[in-house]
């Protein structure tokens, strides 16, 4: 590991700008995530957190700045075809799970590796079953998403992301739509992934979880990163008044 400490980070955003019509949503965002790092993005609603994640995997195009993920210059990838290798490396989990309702749990996991990446169906199936065991959903492979609880659906979504064998997983408020008793079952899975060295970028309102798993926390407000640093500093010794006010409200 020490050999690589000076090597380039896995994700690097530099001075990223993004507007929707006349509303500027990102106004010069820079952040970097090292390989194996766990980064949390916190901030008030509408401050651009989801937009940052969507820019990283090319779901949104940016107006200005650069985004590098591994060897990809994301802002230069235009066609669906060019984006496939990026999305192979960068998986995403959403607040509303975004599963395929018309396919079984197992098919949700195997579809993209087979249909998008062209992998061998038998091998993908085996991997998918192992992943379902990992997220503690063995036995649910033939259920449909609509037959599962929110917490179970979100774990399927995480397993679906893992089935792509990504280098990075982006989590966008993945526990926000869950009933309180289901939050921990999902956070446990994410905690395991973080410990195993999966690079994670988490947008979250679970401040205690952020404090526990993150190497670094970024605080966004109105399209800029106001403050960032190790969780101990951000949560115990915040300097920016906006961050202080935000923490007073949520903690």
């Amino acid at each position: 590991m020490t050999d690589h400490q000076q090597s380039a980070p896995l994700i690097e955003m530099r001075d990223v700008h993004k507007s929707f019509g006349s509303t500027a949503v990102l106004k010069g965002v820079s952040l970097s995530v090292r390989d194996g790092g766990v980064v949390c993005i916190i901030g008030p609603s509408g401050s651009g957190k989801s937009t940052i994640l969507r820019c990283i995997n090319g779901l949104m195009t940016i107006d200005k700045g650069t985004i590098r993920v591994g060897s990809f210059a994301v802002e230069t990838l235009k066609s669906d075809k060019q984006l496939v290798p990026l999305r192979h490396q960068v998986a995403m989990v959403f607040q509303q799970y975004n599963l395929f309702p018309h396919r079984t749990v197992l098919q949700n996991l195997t579809m993209a590796p087979v249909q998008v990446l062209g992998e061998n169906p038998a091998a993908v199936r085996e991997r998918a079953l192992a992943l379902l065991a990992k997220v503690r959903l063995t036995g649910k492979q033939h259920a449909y998403p609509g037959e599962l609880s929110g917490g179970q659906q979100q774990r399927v979504a995480i397993a679906r992301a893992l089935a792509m064998q990504p280098k990075v997983i982006l989590f966008d408020e993945v526990t926000a739509a869950l009933d309180p008793e289901m939050v921990s079952e999902v956070l446990n899975v994410i905690r395991d992934l973080a410990r195993e060295g999966m690079t994670c970028v988490l947008v979250t309102h679970e401040m205690r979880f952020a404090q526990e798993v993150a190497d670094e926390v970024f605080f966004t407000d109105r399209g800029v990163i106001v403050e960032h640093g190790p969780p101990a500093t951000i949560f115990q010794n915040p300097t920016d008044p906006r961050l202080k006010a935000f923490l007073d409200k949520v903690l």
């Binding site: 779901l59 075809k81 959403f94 309702p101 018309h102 249909q115 449909y144 037959e147």
Partner: protein
């Protein structure tokens, strides 16, 4: 007033009726196939915003959806016989018209109900949640793959209820076939009425037969809908 159905015992009339039912069902079935092809293709072009094809599709839909199907049938019939395309019969070597009355009816049903199907399927596609689509995109699905594997399968299921009425409408509209001399059920009925003058009884029977065919179609669609129902999704 007494109803007299004794003519039903005549084997010749039975033959006309059965042949008519067969023709009506075949017309409807072929019309439905064309309707689905047009409906899916049209909805896909609109939904995927294919350049240069969107406005032609929209014009087609408006043109066929908002005009009487009978006018369309006559127009097709006269226009196509005017052009007078013919095929060479491989057996006899004779020339046969490419567009018979039968072909015209199938085309007309496919176009009229297909135009309606375009709108129905398009609304079904619009009802697919944006999140589901985003999920697919985030996994690397291209725009076309997303359509093929996610939006279309879900959207078609959503369009089943309005599509059922469209199918019934197609079956009913097929009764126009008689007007371009196709021997469908209405044609058989007209012949029988000319010979027996039992107009009321014949029409009563035809009414029941259409009801039976339409009910059968609805039943089949329900079966298909049940087989493709998404467990735990929607209602």
């Amino acid at each position: 007033m007494t109803l007299d159905f004794s003519w039903l015992l005549d084997p010749l009339y039975q033959k006309w009726l059965l042949r008519g039912i067969g023709t009506t069902m075949l017309l409807s079935l072929l019309g439905m196939v064309l309707m689905f092809v047009i409906g899916i293709a049209g909805a896909a072009l609109l939904h995927l915003k294919v350049r240069f094809l969107q406005s032609p599709v929209t014009i087609f839909v408006e043109l066929f959806r908002n005009t009487p199907p009978l006018v369309q049938l006559f127009f097709l019939y006269f226009m196509l016989s005017e052009i007078g395309l013919t095929l060479t019969d491989p057996v006899t070597g004779g020339r046969i018209p490419l567009f018979t009355g039968f072909t015209c009816v199938v085309l007309s049903l496919g176009l009229y109900n297909g135009a309606i199907a375009v709108e129905i399927i398009r609304s079904g596609l619009l009802a697919v949640p944006a999140q589901t689509v985003e999920g697919a995109r985030s996994l690397g699905y291209s725009r076309l793959q997303t359509f093929r594997y996610v939006e279309l399968p879900i959207g078609l299921r959503m369009s089943i209820p309005p599509m059922t009425s469209n199918i019934v409408s197609l079956i009913k509209t097929s009764s126009q076939a008689v007007l371009v001399a196709v021997a469908d059920i209405m044609y058989g009925a007209t012949q029988i009425m000319l010979e027996t003058f039992r107009n009321l009884e014949v029409m009563l029977l035809i009414w029941v037969i259409y009801l039976a065919i339409a009910s059968l179609a609805v039943l089949v669609v329900r079966r298909i809908a049940a087989a493709f129902r998404i467990p735990g999704y929607g209602s």
